[in-house]
């Protein structure tokens, strides 16, 4: 339905000036409908540039992007339509809240889609439900709420457009652990209910390891790894070499291996680590 195909994508910033830089190069990817993809990379690795191409906010310097078989940069119309299909939540989305009330702010997206009043109302309530915002808050000003609530309202503003693909740039940055968990749970719930594709950009490897089915690693504008969490985190040394973190369980497994414990590669959850250590003890090497 909304499978995303990226072909030979390249983007150059400030072309033709002394500040010219190729932000991303040679990106070839296919993201099937419904997949939960984690995108990781150091600051300036091009991941933000990449995700802004997926809903035609940026146009490629060369290369093509297809969403559901449609070339998204074909015309002005297709560039607008893709914004309804691919919802993008920016970093610190709470800084984009502007309406007088929470309700109106969530309704901004659906209103721009020129939906009927009932449809808008239904979508606002549904989106608020997904992120756990109670209806009592609807008439409050978004500026007087707590940081976590603001962020959830901002995410609801994008979810209310019912995008088939939901992209989130660092949705948990700056939140306390409880807030992080709630937001990730909300996102997973949205995906389960609607079958949407979710692309999650994050620095938090534990989050990515926990929920992503597939992990894409960016470095210096290129995709350097692409695979399941097990595959990617089994190359922990490489990840550390390009300036990234590994999940805590992976880091602990690496430390234990250095101490001489024989553990398999590709451990990224606490459960796996525990199982591997117990097995090891059963074998009597420790």
């Amino acid at each position: 339905m909304s499978e995303i195909i990226v072909e030979k994508l390249r983007h150059v910033y400030s072309a033709g000036t002394p500040f010219e830089v190729a932000a991303i190069e040679d990106i070839d990817l296919t993201i099937p409908q419904g997949q939960l993809v984690g995108v990781i990379g150091h600051t300036g690795s091009g991941k933000s540039t990449f995700i802004q191409h997926l809903n035609a906010l940026l146009s490629p310097s060369s290369g093509k992007i297809y969403c559901g078989g449609q070339d998204i940069n074909e015309s002005k119309l297709s560039r607008r339509d893709v914004k309804h299909q691919v919802g993008l939540v920016f970093q610190y989305p709470e800084y984009q809240l502007f309406e007088e009330t929470v309700y109106k702010d969530i309704a901004f997206g659906p209103k721009n889609m020129k939906l009927s009043q009932e449809e808008i109302d239904q979508r606002v309530r549904e989106a608020a439900g997904f992120v756990g915002v109670e209806e009592e808050l609807f008439e409050k000003s978004p500026l007087e709420l707590s940081g976590g609530q603001k962020r959830r309202i901002a995410i609801a503003g994008v979810i209310a457009m019912r995008p088939g693909v939901l992209i989130l740039d660092e949705p948990t940055a700056g939140l306390d652990p409880l807030g992080c968990r709630q937001i990730l749970d909300n996102i997973c719930a949205y995906r389960e209910k609607t079958g949407a594709t979710v692309i999650l950009v994050s620095h938090n490897m534990d989050d990515v390891a926990r929920i992503a089915q597939r992990i894409i690693v960016f470095s210096h504008g290129r995709v350097v790894m692409d695979g399941s969490a097990g595959e990617v985190f089994s190359r922990a040394e490489e990840l550390i070499a390009i300036g990234l973190d590994v999940p805590r369980a992976t880091a602990l497994a690496m430390a234990l291996k250095k101490q001489g414990m024989a553990l398999p590669d590709g451990i990224y959850t606490h459960e796996q680590l525990l199982a591997a250590v117990l097995e090891n003890r059963g074998a009597g090497t420790c």
């Binding site: 906010l57 919802g87 920016f90 989305p93 800084y95 984009q96 502007f98 901004f108 721009n112 457009m161």
Partner: protein, 265 residues
Amino acid sequence: MLKDITLGQFFPGDTIAHRLDPRAKLLLVVLFIVALFQARGWVAYGILTLVVAVCMRVSHISGKNIFKGLKPMIFIIALTGVLNIFYTDGTPILPGWIITWEGIARAIQMVLRIVLLITGTFLLTYTTSPIALTDGLELLLNPLKKLRFPVHEMTIMMSMALRFIPTLIEETDKIMSAQKARGADFETGSLMERAKALLPVLVPLFVSAFRRADELAVAMESRCYHGGEGRTRMKQLIFAGRDYIALALGILLLAGIIGLKKLGL
């Protein structure tokens, strides 16, 4: 889009124009502007154009960059040209026409004057970092302190404003992208609709500008900033030989142009 604004942009480099003392460059621009307004004849305009061309060459600023900066002014420049063509008395180019030979000559000179004026000031901002520029300005205006004119406060406000232009532009870009992702449309519709469409950008922008101002004030106070009294500089500006030579050349240029005016060239 918004990032293309070249207002007050600085192109880092290591040419003689970059190394000149900002005070010398400020004074040179003033001398140049005075000379520009003293120019009457073609010879004077020719010399000034040549001077600007040489300065562009020396400071490695391409014509393309200058043109980009001139773009927003194109309307004013064109209007000046057209008005001068039609409103100057003299000999008509064809019998019965309003357009006169004098009008065409004047139009060319006026357009040249504006273009040179803008280019001259661009050469200053393209080759001088905003910090150096405000530092230079503060030192040049220092005598005004005797008249209780708040020179330091004014220049620190200026450098802060300049410092935050790129930040605010970036922020505006980001907010615009975010609202576009929610289907906001800034490009179509009537003037009224477009003005309204800016609201979702302006509200968050103001909120964040106030937040930033607060944070900046706290950051400055916690580093014991207390105004200009007794403040020293890390980078002392020192007038070097090249600055004196540049200034001498500037004065020579002005004197030459005034001389040419007396000769009617």
